[in-house]
């Protein structure tokens, strides 16, 4: 239990194979109590599997760890009682009403004073007026609110949220994140996987995972600094062909088009500025040096991982 006070999640060297696919490769993570920890990575990178390993829904092939101080292999029962897990796909019962779903969850956790607990949850999440509606008839945003209410019902100390905002509109997403920060302020730890950069920037700490391996970990600033990338922003039209042209230059490690701007990144700023200046001379394009963003870094990490993975495969 001493670890439980220090870390909400502490796992070391987790491995999981499905057949001959190495889905999670030597994963080690530390999440502090009251921290919102963002879990990023491309589709199929092993985020969902990692989360399932941490809440005892899957058994690791090797490695060890604890959630809230409980061993993830031997004490899965205690973890289930103290962790709220929100699945990627809405997994409450479409053919039950909102109230019935919450009541069912409350019964599963043997909560005392059930009807009051359910009523409070409905109130807090603004679902009271829709309590009698079938869960299956809710829109994406409301389903997500219901799922959060349901996985918070037993007052877990740790939330594991697997892409909770996928397919949810921006307003609902903003409300959702405000709620997460309120929970974190109360001391609840949150591990949340996402594909959205704006969400990543709202996390206290981040981890980037690709092909089952953890590639970077730390605050947004730390991750950007660790990547050691310089970025030049090119503004103008016809950026598609410009990007292709720059991509071939040795000083350029990547180009990313954002509408009417092009981010060109490389390891060495002077070399990069020189390359861009020479290649784009006389084109009438605006060129300025900007701080490298999280998204540039993630794209860089993913590209690197893909190259490494292809290399290891060959």
């Amino acid at each position: 239990m001493t670890i439980g006070n220090e870390w909400a999640i502490a796992v070391d060297g987790l491995n999981k194979h499905f057949g001959d696919k190495h889905v999670v490769n030597n994963l080690s993570l530390r999440v502090r109590p009251g921290e919102i920890f963002g879990f990023l990575g491309p589709n199929g990178s092993g985020k969902t599997t990692s989360i399932r390993l941490m809440c005892g829904l899957l058994t690791p092939d090797s490695g060890s760890g604890s959630c809230l101080g409980y061993d993830i292999v031997r004490e899965a029962e205690q973890i289930k009682r103290n962790v709220g897990y929100m699945t990627q796909k809405f997994s409450y019962w479409d053919d039950l009403t909102i109230r019935e779903n919450l009541d069912f969850v409350a019964r599963m956790y043997e909560m005392p004073d059930r009807s009051a607990v359910v009523a409070r949850a409905l109130d807090e999440l603004g679902l009271a007026s829709r309590a009698g509606q079938l869960a299956g008839s809710l829109s994406g945003g409301w389903k997500q609110r219901l799922a959060l209410a349901a996985c918070m019902l037993h007052q877990p100390r740790l939330l594991l949220l697997d892409e909770p905002t996928a397919g949810v509109d921006p307003t609902a997403r903003r409300d959702f994140w405000a709620e997460l920060h309120r929970l974190a302020a109360k001391g609840i730890s949150v591990l949340v996987s996402t594909h959205y950069m704006d969400e990543a920037e709202r996390c206290h700490k981040l981890a980037y995972i690709a092909y089952g391996s953890l590639l970077a970990q730390g605050t947004a600033g730390e991750i950007v600094a660790a990547a050691g990338l310089a970025t030049v922003c090119v503004r103008g039209s016809g950026l598609g062909s410009v990007a292709e042209q720059l991509e071939r230059h040795p000083a350029v490690s990547q180009t990313v088009v954002f509408g009417d701007t092009l981010h060109v990144s490389g390891r060495d700023l002077p070399a990069l500025q020189h390359a861009v200046g020479v290649e784009l001379a006389g084109r009438g394009l605006g060129i300025e040096v900007i701080p490298t963003g999280l998204e540039d870094v993630f794209i860089h990490l993913m590209k690197q991982a893909r190259d490494n993975f292809a290399g290891a495969d060959a």
């Binding site: 829904l57 899957l58 962790v83 699945t87 997994s91 599963m108």
Partner: protein, 377 residues
């Protein structure tokens, strides 16, 4: 509008074959069902059952009675068991279904035969399933004639008239008019319940898995036995409703006699419901999706309907088929229903058909609990 394309058509054919090859359960069904049907219909099912167990009570053995019993045995319809001491014992055996016929040779039969008084032999038959006993009963008069021809020789030749020198009185017990519905309707109760209950519970767990709600359930502290037994309960009620509907129909539409205790009928129904639900929930744990659950239900249902004695006489099947049939809960439930409704049996006679169902349920539930995966592995 483009015309017929062989390339597209072949693409569809190829895709179907590929998908079929990966769908093991469907594939097994395509191959398995014809084999099962062929074996069962070809070897196991016999609508002209022979070697039916027969008890014989002979009050005064004589050359003639021995000859008649031997003739029954030789007809291959009757398997004469070692003589029973009393009529009470024979009747009890008939109640329990251990024998299908009781032949009683009344006192003074031989003497009165030789006097030319045309005495009668008494044959009591278990007529709950009229088709099972019909053929055997129909050969009895011919047997009597032949034995008379052979035995009444020499000095007794004068007793060999055109008419048989003795009669055979047949008592069709439990179902004197040989009404097929008396057998079919109580049997139908088991068939309906096993089909619907096995299939509905079969879907119960796979539905959770297919909709993704299983992951949610597994993330809660709920225990396997809680899930399994909890999912069963609503179907127990459904089963009881079905039983009631069929009982009402049996009484109201077909006048099936209710000789036994109605409470016993419901207890027997509960026992059978438990067995069926255990099967359903086990199939549910084994199947990966709802389609597979339905397919497995049909797999289970097929031998049940063919080997339980519902559709074809149980005693007509070869030994191995009877063994398989004796494992199935439907076989025992059918006998319980006939026993209670038609014979008015009590607990003592029913026990041999109760414990196999209890054992079956316990074993199948064990498989269900073991097959329930607590993780997503």
């Amino acid at each position: 509008m483009s015309g017929w394309s062989w390339t597209r058509w072949w693409g569809i054919v190829l895709k179907e074959f590929r998908q079929l090859r990966r769908d093991r359960v469907s594939f097994a069904m395509v191959i398995g069902v014809p084999i099962i049907q062929m074996v069962l219909f070809g070897y196991a099912i016999n609508s002209d059952p022979r070697h039916l167990p027969t008890a014989v009570i002979v009050h005064e053995p004589s050359e003639f009675t021995r000859s008649f019993v031997a003739a029954m045995q030789h007809s291959s319809y009757f398997d004469v068991l070692p003589a029973l001491d009393s009529e009470a014992l024979a009747t009890a055996a008939l109640d329990r279904g251990e024998v299908m016929f009781v032949l009683t040779v009344p006192p003074g039969f031989t003497r009165s035969l030789l006097r030319g008084e045309r005495p009668d032999l008494l044959v009591e038959a278990d007529a709950t399933d009229p088709t099972a006993t019909g053929m055997a009963l129909s050969v009895l008069p011919e047997l009597a004639r032949q034995v008379a021809l052979r035995e009444l020789d020499g000095p007794w030749l004068k007793l060999r008239p055109a008419d048989p020198p003795f009669g055979v009185i047949v008592h069709r017990r439990y179902n004197p008019e040989g009404i097929t519905q008396y057998n079919i309707i109580p049997g139908l109760m088991g068939v309906v319940m096993s089909m619907t209950l096995v299939m509905m519970t079969g879907l119960a767990m796979t539905r959770e898995r297919e909709r993704g709600t299983m992951e949610n359930l597994l993330a809660t502290p709920v225990q396997p036995l809680e899930v399994i037994t909890g999912k069963i309960v609503p179907y127990v009620l459904i089963g009881l409703v079905q039983a009631t509907v069929i009982l009402l129909g049996a009484r109201g539409l077909f006048d099936v006699p209710f000789s036994g205790n109605l409470l016993a009928v419901y207890l027997a129904a509960l026992l059978f419901i438990a067995a069926s639900l255990a099967v359903g929930i086990t199939l549910s744990s084994l199947a990966r999706n709802q389609l597979q659950a339905v397919q497995l239900t049909i797999f289970y249902f097929l031998p049940n309907i063919l080997l339980s004695g519902f559709m074809f006489p149980f005693r007509g099947m070869p030994e191995w088929a009877q063994r398989i049939g004796s494992i199935l809960p439907l076989t025992h439930f059918n006998r319980l229903m006939r026993g209670i409704l038609l014979k008015g049996n009590g607990w003592a006679e029913q026990w041999p058909h109760i414990w196999p169902q209890l054992l079956f349920t316990a074993l199948v539930m064990l498989v269900a609990v073991l097959a329930y995966r607590k993780t997503l592995d």
